[in-house]
């Protein structure tokens, strides 16, 4: 198919429909608004599947051939999970007091969907930037505490956008085409494109923006944020740089960065933010491995991660809404009065840890098996260590410190029905995919020849996770929460930068003062001299007697006469 999506057909692009719904939502109130929040993501979901496979008719624009819509298995996979998560998060956020949040979130989701189906670099860039703006607005809607974090967020993402744009310009100059296809990072232009993608993925060292900004969003805002930006980055890396070796290293650094910082963190939502970096690290490493199994694993992991991370953030958001607290050191014992939130949080925690019968298990084992099949020993051992670490920092730490540990004395009830419904929906899907992986495997980009439930897989995973659990409880004293944050790379621009600026500022201030003083003094001196000569008592201002003038005239004439004769 090429012809069926031309002209007005472009208005049916999933991204465009989602964004349009977002704009309309600004003006709706009451049941109409709720109905649209319900129906728009479902309509988009059906469009993802109804629109024909293949590339749309190209649009000519400034001599370039734009292909804004290209539907393939990978696009449909991400389109499905984006639309579905917008649906669930929309229900979850239904009672959000800041009424602009859902409309903006839908526009943001639409931009992400635009990136998913973009087949040329210019369309991709346009949606990419819309995503940056939409997500920054969501961060800012977190309230006054989010102002600085939102600013840092948008600056980093605009920087990423600049890198991407520069790379695209270089790519066009080199190859003459704007088509977005698989490439290798072998020229400066492609390095720029790759780094633009990696900034959005939260790759170290540009990862601090994620735990800095996302947790400052509202209780519902972070659910939206976790789903789209980093995962579109995973998608474009899957499309653009499969098998790029450097991604294995980048991914592994992200994996361990996430674990270590999450272990040290006290804020429950920042723990989950670090865990996003950790999880995206698994996907990036898998893209670097580049075999069909590993790429399937990366895509599958992105899909299930969006769902269980949204679930984890929904349970954390419920705790935040009902208690107003985010710090582990102030929480604990909530299982008594928030049983449903606790159970849903546990389902999310077990899924992220890849426990058998959860969605994480059927996806993540593809990634480690990918490394194993390729004989990448070091990568495999590190990924296995990291899998144990995931259970440590997200699988046990989050639910333990929030819902169990000590009794904080807090007795909040479970959240309202719509939030409970959204959490239950995500829990069912997480477990459903874990128990019946076959339909899910059919969505993946490559044919799946992978059996997750073998005796060896299940036993090894259970050993790995349960003994990690043993380590957690035996070393609990070392994991005790303190009211601290952990310095990150962003210290450079949050502390060192302002410090240097301050020093320069006070230095230049002193220099300026000295300059002002000196010019003031020389000015005063000049004025005094003028005053001395021209002032009322000055030599040049005196009234001279006529006799003295005559005497001076005689003297001058006499001198003239003398000079004349010599």
């Amino acid at each position: 198919m090429t012809a069926s999506l031309g002209g007005l057909g472009y208005l049916l692009m999933p991204g465009v429909v989602m964004m349009a719904a977002g704009f309309v939502l600004f003006f709706l109130r009451g049941p109409g608004r709720n109905a649209l929040i319900f129906l728009a993501p479902l309509a988009v979901l059906s469009l993802v599947w109804l629109l024909p496979e293949g590339r749309s008719e190209p649009i000519r624009w400034l001599g370039y051939e734009l292909v804004p819509f290209h539907s393939d298995a990978l696009g449909r996979l991400f389109g499905t999970v984006f639309a579905f998560t917008a649906f669930a998060a929309g229900i979850y956020a239904l009672r959000q007091e800041r009424r602009a949040e859902i409309p903006v979130a839908f526009i943001y989701a639409g931009a992400a969907l635009g990136v998913v189906f973009a087949a040329d670099l210019i369309t991709l860039f346009v949606f990419w930037e819309m995503m940056a703006v939409g997500s920054a607005l969501i961060v800012w809607m977190g309230g006054s505490g989010a102002r600085g974090a939102g600013l840092r967020y948008i600056v980093i993402h605009l920087l990423g956008g600049v890198l991407l744009m520069a790379g695209i310009a270089g790519q066009v100059a080199e190859t003459g085409t704007i088509a977005f296809q698989a490439m290798h990072a072998d020229s400066p232009a492609k390095w720029l494109i790759l780094s633009g993608f990696l900034i959005n993925a939260g790759a170290w060292p540009m990862s601090a923006w994620l735990p800095d900004s996302y947790p400052e969003a509202s209780w519902s805002g972070m659910v939206f944020l976790s789903a789209f930006t980093t995962k579109t980055a995973v998608l474009v890396l899957l499309r653009g740089f499969p098998g790029e070796d450097i991604l294995i290293v980048v991914g592994l650094i992200m994996v361990f960065y996430g674990i270590v910082y999450a272990i040290l963190e006290n804020d429950m939502r920042r723990i989950l933010a670090y865990s996003i970096v950790n999880q995206v690290g698994f996907m990036v490493a898998a893209i670097g491995i580049g075999s069909e199994l590993a790429l399937n694993g990366a895509a599958a992991h992105a899909f299930v991660h969006i769902i269980y991370k949204a679930l984890l953030l929904m349970s954390a958001g419920s705790v935040l809404l009902m208690t107003g607290r985010r710090k582990c050191s102030e929480l604990g014992g909530l299982f008594r009065t928030m049983p449903l939130t606790t159970i849903c949080g546990l389902v999310g925690a077990l899924s992220i840890s890849a426990f058998p019968l959860t969605s994480g298990f059927v996806a993540k084992s593809m990634i480690s098996d990918g490394a194993w099949d390729d004989g990448l020993a070091v990568v495999w051992f590190l990924l296995t260590t990291a899998s144990a670490g995931v259970f440590l920092h997200a699988g046990i730490k989050f639910p333990w410190f929030v819902f169990f540990q000590k009794d904080s004395g807090l007795r909040p009830p479970d959240p309202p029905w719509n939030m409970r419904a959204a959490m239950l929906l995500m829990s069912f899907v997480s477990i459903g995919i874990g128990i019946f992986p076959a339909p899910f495997y059919r969505l993946l980009p490559y044919p799946v020849d992978f059996v997750p439930y073998t005796g060896a897989h299940v036993v090894s995973q259970l050993q790995l996770l349960l003994f990690s659990g043993l380590a957690f409880f035996l070393l609990l004293g070392w994991l005790k929460r303190t009211d601290t944050i952990t310095l990150d790379i962003d210290w450079l621009w949050r502390r060192l930068g302002p410090m240097i600026y301050g020093m320069l500022d006070s230095g230049s201030d002193r220099a300026w003062q000295a300059l002002v003083r000196r010019s003031q003094r020389s000015g005063e001196r000049l004025m005094r001299t003028i005053y001395r000569h021209h002032g009322p008592q000055g030599v040049l201002a005196r009234a001279w007697p006529t006799g003295s003038i005559a005497l001076w005239a005689v003297f001058l004439l006499g001198a003239y006469l003398i000079f004349y004769y010599f």
């Binding site: 270590v260 008594r336 060896a456 349960l466 990690s468 601290t484 944050i485 952990t486």
Partner: protein, 85 residues
């Protein structure tokens, strides 16, 4: 929020429940290792096919990760109002 006056805490928080949980946890741990007698782990790198590999490797991994984190924490931890001052 006032704490409701209950004589006995939630059944899950009682010491005897926690004791039972620990005992069953240890039993489960042991049974996952015993299961290694009955399943065959393919070994490509050698060590990962040996008896109880995933058990000790998982445990050791976590101990090492916690240790590294604590060591880094010594240098990188700051009071949580650090940037607000």
């Amino acid at each position: 929020m006032p704490r409701p006056k209950i004589k006995e805490d939630h059944w899950l928080a009682r010491p005897q429940t926690i004791r039972i949980l620990w005992i069953s946890f240890v039993v489960i741990l042991a049974s996952t290792v015993i299961a290694d007698f009955f399943v065959h782990h393919d070994a490509r790198f050698g060590i990962e096919g040996t008896f109880g590999f995933y058990a000790w490797y998982g445990f050791l991994s976590c101990v090492v990760l916690i240790f590294i984190s604590r060591a880094l924490g010594v240098f990188l931890k700051r009071p949580d109002d650090y940037y607000d001052r």
